[in-house]
């Protein structure tokens, strides 16, 4: 495995660690919103992996891990798509 392949694959281990050690506390902006009483203004959004959880998986660690892995795949596909489009249009 060369270095670049490793650099593409290794983020899954960061996501794995993030799934294991992720904090359940609100983030900085949410904390500010709670402290200043405007947190209720936030509109809940319907999304397939809302809150970094994978539908149909009840285990929280696995759910976050699958959602994170899906995110990495989405990013990879997006950049592969741009690369393919550039190759196609510059030929």
């Amino acid at each position: 495995m060369n270095k670049k392949t490793g650099a593409v694959i290794f983020p899954i281990f960061v996501v794995l660690s993030a799934s294991l050690f992720a904090s359940k506390h609100p983030d900085t902006l949410e904390t500010l919103a709670i402290n200043y009483g405007f947190d209720k203004q936030a509109k809940e959004m319907a999304s397939i992996f809302a809150g970094y959880s994978f539908p149909f998986i009840n285990n929280q660690f696995l759910s976050t891990l699958c959602a994170g892995a899906t995110g990495l795949i989405l990013i990879y596909v997006l950049y592969k798509g741009i690369n393919s489009a550039v190759k196609h249009f510059t030929k």
Partner: protein, 228 residues
């Protein structure tokens, strides 16, 4: 720091979304120019090079450049998922704007952070869709594009200090920009929340600096390859 829908008024969200789209077009254009410029160099120097060779070279160079952008985007996404407790009731994650911009250039940095924010907003409900323009402005424009020029101005003197200064600017300026947007939308008073906003993000600065320095050290060779 991802602003959800409902915190900002519609005119500000719309204006920032339009601005973000314009900036995205500009940065995408610069990134595509960079990808194609590498291959044009031998073509200008040597007119005998066949178009087939140029096309192959273009593909290879563009491929290498996009591989770098892909790596940066994957790492930024992974680290933005890394939410750690910074106070008894608060958590924070790094932005990765300085890492992306130093690794791949300011326009590519903007593009990388914007793409990550878009995926987070569309698929993970992390940041609102109508607030996406504001989030792109705060984290991609201020947190990555502008921060790169802080790094650039100081990198001649000390590389590590330049990264630390850029991270300091990146996180705090993005936080202040977020607070300005909230106060324009009359969600919270700027003067009342200023101190809390800064104190909450000072620990994020430390986290951002440590992770950015570690990642840029790990990707030292990749960072040396040509950018815009």
């Amino acid at each position: 720091m991802h602003i959800p829908d409902g915190f900002l008024n519609s005119s500000l969200s719309g204006g920032l979304l339009a601005g973000a789209l314009g900036m995205l077009g500009f940065c995408l254009n610069r990134v595509l120019q960079t990808a194609t410029t590498f291959a044009n160099v031998p073509a200008v120097n040597n007119s005998n090079i066949s178009t087939v060779l140029c096309a192959n070279e273009l593909s290879n160079n563009a491929g290498k450049y996009f591989q770098k952008l892909t790596i940066a985007a994957l790492w930024v996404f992974a680290f933005q998922m890394f939410n750690i407790s910074i106070q008894p009731v608060t958590s924070a994650h790094p932005i990765g704007g300085v890492f992306a911009a130093v690794l791949a250039g300011p326009s590519a940095g903007f593009l990388i952070i914007s793409s990550v924010l878009t995926v987070q907003s569309l698929f993970f409900a992390d940041g609102g869709i109508f607030s996406l323009g504001a989030n792109i402005f705060n984290m991609a424009f201020v947190g990555s594009f502008l921060s790169y020029y802080i790094y650039k101005a100081l990198s001649g003197k000390n590389h590590h200090l330049a990264i630390a200064a850029a991270c300091f600017f990146s996180v705090l300026a993005a936080a202040i920009s977020c607070l300005i947007e909230l106060s324009i939308s009359k969600t919270v008073s700027f003067t009342a929340a200023f101190k809390d906003m800064l104190s909450l993000h000072l620990i994020v600065v430390l986290l951002e600096t440590v992770i950015t320095l570690a990642l840029l050290k790990a990707f030292k060779n990749l960072a040396k390859s040509k950018n815009e």
